[in-house]
Structures are given as structure tokens and as C-alpha cells.
């Protein structure tokens, strides 16, 4: 599988990273270099192998079902680039 320019552009859009047109050729070559290298995994026989999803062996714990938001509104907002009262502020989304 090899990426073309249109796919690189689409993946960048999915990842929400702006890529200038003149960066695309080099990025395409680098990504294809990496993908070509990881392609070797296709040769490994993994039939009937359960995928390993996590790093540990334990089942995830359940926690008590209660609100634990901490009531720390000012701390949560302390690093906001822009805020309006008790809210994060962003450019207008809905016309």
C-alpha cells in the first residue's frame, strides 16, 4: 500500500494538521518510507492470534459510580487560551 498526494492531504485533514502544498511531496515520501518498512508485518502468520490491546495483564478496575469532578472550575480554566466567564471561548461555530 502506497500513499498518493490526495491521501496525504486527506490524512492531514483528519488529523487536523495544516499542511502547505509545497510540503506534501516530502511528507509523502517520508510516510511511504515508513509504511514500506512496516509492510513486512504482513508476512507474519497471525491466524487465530488474539490481538493484544493493552500493556498490562490485569482487567480494568471498576470505580464507584459517583461524581468526582472535584469542583475545580478555576483550575480547569486556568490555562485556557481564551475564556468567556466560566466557559472556554472559541470562534463562532454556528451561524
Amino acid at each position: 500500500m502506497s500513499l498518493d498526494t490526495a491521501t496525504v492531504r486527506r490524512v492531514a485533514s483528519l488529523a487536523r494538521i495544516r499542511v502547505e502544498e509545497d510540503e506534501l511531496p516530502r511528507l509523502e515520501a517520508e510516510l511511504n518510507g515508513i509504511l514500506g518498512w512496516i509492510e513486512q508485518l504482513q508476512a507474519v502468520d497471525t491466524s487465530s492470534v488474539e490481538p493484544m490491546a493493552g500493556g498490562g495483564n490485569q482487567a480494568l478496575r471498576m470505580r464507584e459510580d459517583r461524581v468526582t469532578d472535584g469542583d475545580i472550575q478555576e483550575k480547569v480554566l486556568a490555562n485556557a487560551p481564551d475564556r468567556a466567564g466560566a466557559f472556554f471561548a472559541v470562534p463562532k461555530v454556528v451561524e
Binding site: 483528519l14 512496516i38 508485518l41 497471525t46 490491546a53
Partner: protein, 494 residues
């Protein structure tokens, strides 16, 4: 008396206990060394001298009352990936360049609980992605070691925990926290001639550590001796309800395990790690390590880990996939950098393009691609299956052996301008270390020799899940046999 900056952590602790030195004196000695050397080495992104002196004064007060704890008055560097309440935490990235966490990571909080003094925040590859500490938005870190006869050549300290390792090697801290996702503790430790351990996945809480690849990330210490690593890990480790993958099992006395010896232990030598083209110096060091352990009464057992060669490509699917998901949070809305745009999507895209460096953008794009519709099974699911096979290789090996000995890295430290053109060549640095992250097992790097140019080389000991004690026992035996006393060219008081 040994110069304060040349003490081991264990030695400094004993000297503090005997009141031969005060915590303030010990801290001032390190702050002075940082002031003198950090402008060149760039091991710290942020230094916190006032905070450190206040902590040292509190440590002296505690020691005077006989209330010293495991690390009371011990000056440490904290990798700038651990959130520290009230102290800027950047992850080596522009996107977090002015982020001040309102909370403390569990690991750094455990160290504070035990009385440690924080000198500052150590440099790292951006978001811990790299093997050379050259991707940091705050500049590269210089390895304090020099090739003989090439004093001008700027060597990298390894990565991603390059600032932590360089700070400890140059005597700008007695120890440091680090993290390891594919080798980021062990490779820089080996490149800088110090020890470092990635413990079992789940041993240290990930709460408050800026996430890279959550199923692989583990915190651990770097220090100048194996015992010092054991002391630090004893404080850093422990169950934390705030991390759903934290292991609820007791923390043993790691430091005590260092003196156990290796008599009767079965040490596995994996034949697949003898790579084609492995430099003769690395192969010879590995052979030497085997001879040392055999002389100490261990039994060497050849083993096979047949899926080893698939580990790096597996890692370079799993890690970028998890990174692309974890780093989605940096959107310019709730914290971190914002670049304004025409609309919200444009704001996201401009913020992330301006905030992330080249390697981070590359990995996010790879991760996004392998998780995207139509490719998920071919890449991500396949990688998870191969990961299961890699783990099974180790599970089967533990029937035959108690620990495994390998080289730590395929080379000594390289120059800043080498290996930068080809991402895949850079990725090969982690060929010996990445399997431990995929399998979730502990791995320790210990300095064991030098190459022909005088640069340090390390050996790696891998162990069973939650059996760091055996890893420390074997690592200490190697350390004693190697008697590694060489010193880096750049260091405090040198």
C-alpha cells in the same frame, strides 16, 4: 569528603543522615553546577532554584527532627513530561510552551512525599518521541561524553530522556525521573554511561505524565548506580487509583535486591538479538557480560525469541496510533498554544501545525492513517496480533530462564548531524529495547564498558513481569564486575 555533586544518591543520603552535609549545601552545589554547565549542555528546560532551596531547608528541618524519609534532601531532575503543580511543564513542545499544570503527577508527588528536592525540569524529545533529544522545541541536549580526540563533535545524549540522562552524567543531579515508551530510559542511560530502569507496565502510575502511547509508556529512574535507581524506583512506584492500569501489588525493597547476587540464576541469551552487522565492540561487550555472570555462578541458557525482528515495525504502528489519539487533545481550546483561524477547524489545523514539530506531526499522520477506515485491520489489528506473539515469546522464555541479557543499544552515542535524514535509521536505535515495552516487562540498562573512542556502552537485563528484584540483582552483578569508573568530559567540578 567526596564533592557533593560526585556523591551517589545512596552516599548522599548517608552523609545527610550523619549530618556531614546539609540538604541546603547539597542543593547549592548542584544549583552552582547547573548554572555553570547547563547553558552549554541544555539538560534543563526550566530550573527552579528558589523552590529547590525552600525544599532543601524543609529537608534539613525534617532531618534535624529525625524525620528523614527515603529521599529527604536528595536533589533530582524531573523530566519535563511529568506535570508539576505550579511549575511549567512543556513536554519539549511549543504547543505546551507556557502550560503550568494545576496538579502534580503521582510519580513526582511520591518523590515529594519522600522528601526529594526538585532542581528543575529536564529536556526531552518533543512529547518523548525520539532517540537523540534533537526534536525538543527547547533545543538539543549535548552528551557530556566526548569521543577521544574529537572534543568538538557534538554527540547526542540519546532520547527521549536525554536531558535526564545528561544531567545525571554531568553531575547536575543525583538522579532523575524519566519515561520509556520504546527505549527512552535505557538508550539515553547507555549513551551517557549511567543506569536506568523501565519497570513493569503498571508499576508506576501514569497519572499526570503527558501521554505519548498509553499502552507502552512507563516511568522509571536514571541514576549513576543500579542501587540509586532501586532507591528511586522504590519511591516512584506504587498503586494509584487515578491510573486505571496501575497495578495493585506491593512494592518490594528493590535496593535490598541489588545485593542478592546471581548464583544459580538462569540467564537467557536470545539468539535473535545477535543481529547481522552488530558492531564487534557491542558483540564483545555482550560476551563479556555473559562471562561475568557465569563467573558469579549464573547459568547461561540460549533461548529463542522468534518474533524479535518484527518488534520495531509493530511498535511504529502501535505507538503512532496511540499518539495520534492522545495528542488529539491539543486543539488550542482548553490549554496550550492557540493560533487563530477563519473558523474552528482552521484554528485547530493552524494551532497543531504551529505547535507540533516535524517528528510529532509525522507520527500523528502515520497514526491517523493506520487507524483510518479501511486500513485499521491491515495495520493496527495486525500489529496488535504480532504484539501478542512477541509477548508470548517472552512468556515461553520464562519457563527456562529467570532473566535475559542483551546489549542495550546497537551503537555508542552518535553525532547530532548523523542519522537525521532517514526516520527509519533513527528508529533502529530502539531495536534491543522496544520488545520490553511491547511485552510490558522490566528492562534495566547498566554501563558495562567503552568503545574504542572511550564512549560508554551499556548492557540490558530484561526480567519477568513484576520481578524487578531479579533485574536489579543481575544488573548489580554486572555493575560490580564491570567496575565502570570512566567519567564524562563535561561534568561539574571537572
Amino acid at each position: 569528603m567526596t564533592a557533593p555533586t560526585d556523591m551517589t544518591l545512596a552516599g548522599a543520603r548517608a552523609a545527610l543522615g550523619r549530618r556531614e552535609i546539609s540538604a541546603v549545601e547539597l542543593t547549592r552545589a548542584h544549583l552552582g553546577a547547573i548554572e555553570a554547565l547547563n547553558p552549554r549542555i541544555n539538560a534543563y528546560i526550566t530550573t527552579t532554584p528558589e523552590l529547590a532551596l525552600a525544599q532543601a531547608e524543609a529537608a534539613d528541618a525534617a532531618l534535624a527532627k529525625g524525620e528523614g524519609r527515603a529521599l529527604t534532601g536528595i536533589p533530582l531532575a524531573i523530566k519535563d513530561l511529568f506535570c508539576t503543580a505550579g511549575t511549567r511543564t512543556t513536554a519539549g513542545s511549543r504547543i505546551l510552551g507556557s502550560f503550568v499544570p494545576p496538579y502534580e503527577s503521582t510519580v513526582s508527588g511520591n518523590l515529594l512525599r519522600d522528601g526529594a528536592v526538585f532542581l528543575g525540569k529536564a529536556n526531552l524529545d518533543e512529547f518523548a518521541m525520539g532517540s537523540s533529544n534533537t526534536t525538543s522545541a527547547f533545543g538539543a541536549v549535548e552528551n557530556p561524553w566526548k569521543r577521544q580526540g574529537e572534543e568538538e563533535t557534538f554527540l547526542v545524549p540519546g532520547g527521549s530522556s536525554g536531558g535526564s540522562a545528561a544531567a545525571v552524567a554531568a553531575r547536575l543531579a543525583l538522579g532523575a525521573t524519566a519515561t520509556d515508551t520504546g527505549g527512552s530510559i535505557r538508550q539515553p542511560a547507555a549513551f551517557c554511561g549511567i543506569a536506568g530502569i523501565k519497570p513493569t507496565y503498571g508499576r508506576c502510575s501514569r497519572f499526570g505524565i503527558v501521554a505519548f502511547a498509553s499502552s507502552l509508556d512507563q516511568a522509571g529512574p536514571v541514576a549513576r548506580t543500579v542501587e540509586d535507581c532501586a532507591i528511586l524506583l522504590g519511591s516512584m512506584a506504587g498503586f494509584d487509583p487515578k491510573d486505571s492500569t496501575s497495578a495493585d501489588i506491593p512494592v518490594p525493597d528493590f535496593a535490598a535486591a541489588c545485593a542478592r547476587g546471581v548464583k544459580g540464576l538462569r540467564i537467557g541469551i536470545p539468539r535473535e538479538y545477535r543481529l547481522d552487522g552488530l558492531p564487534a565492540e557491542i558483540a564483545a561487550l555482550w560476551d563479556q557480560g555473559m562471562a561475568w555472570l557465569k563467573a558469579e555462578g549464573a547459568e547461561l541458557v540460549e533461548i529463542s525469541l522468534p518474533h524479535t525482528k518484527h518488534a520495531l515495525p509493530t511498535y511504529y504502528i502501535v505507538a503512532p496510533a496511540e499518539a495520534s489519539s492522545n495528542l488529539a487533545r491539543y486543539d488550542g481550546v482548553r490549554f496550550g498554544l492557540r493560533e487563530n483561524g477563519e473558523d474552528l477547524k482552521d484554528l485547530y489545523e493552524r494551532t497543531r501545525a504551529a505547535g507540533f514539530g516535524e517528528e510529532v506531526r509525522r507520527r500523528i499522520l502515520i497514526g491517523t492513517y493506520v487507524l483510518s477506515a479501511g486500513y485499521y485491520d491491515a495495520y493496527y489489528l495486525k500489529a496488535q496480533q504480532v504484539r501478542a506473539l512477541i509477548k508470548r515469546d517472552f512468556d515461553q522464555a520464562w519457563d527456562k530462564v529467570d532473566a535475559i541479557l542483551t546489549p542495550a543499544t546497537p551503537s555508542a552515542a552518535f553525532g547530532r548531524d548523523e542519522k537525521q535524514d532517514d526516520p527509519v535509521a533513527m528508529y533502529l536505535n530502539d531495536v534491543f529495547t522496544v520488545t520490553a515495552n511491547l511485552a510490558g516487562i522490566p528492562g534495566l540498562a547498566v554501563p558495562a564498558g567503552q568503545d574504542a573512542k572511550g564512549l560508554p556502552l551499556g548492557l540490558q537485563i530484561l526480567g519477568k513481569p513484576f520481578d524487578e528484584e531479579t533485574v536489579f540483582a543481575v544488573g548489580s552483578a554486572i555493575e560490580r564486575a564491570a567496575g565502570f569508573t570512566a567519567l564524562p568530559a563535561l561534568r561539574a567540578a571537572a
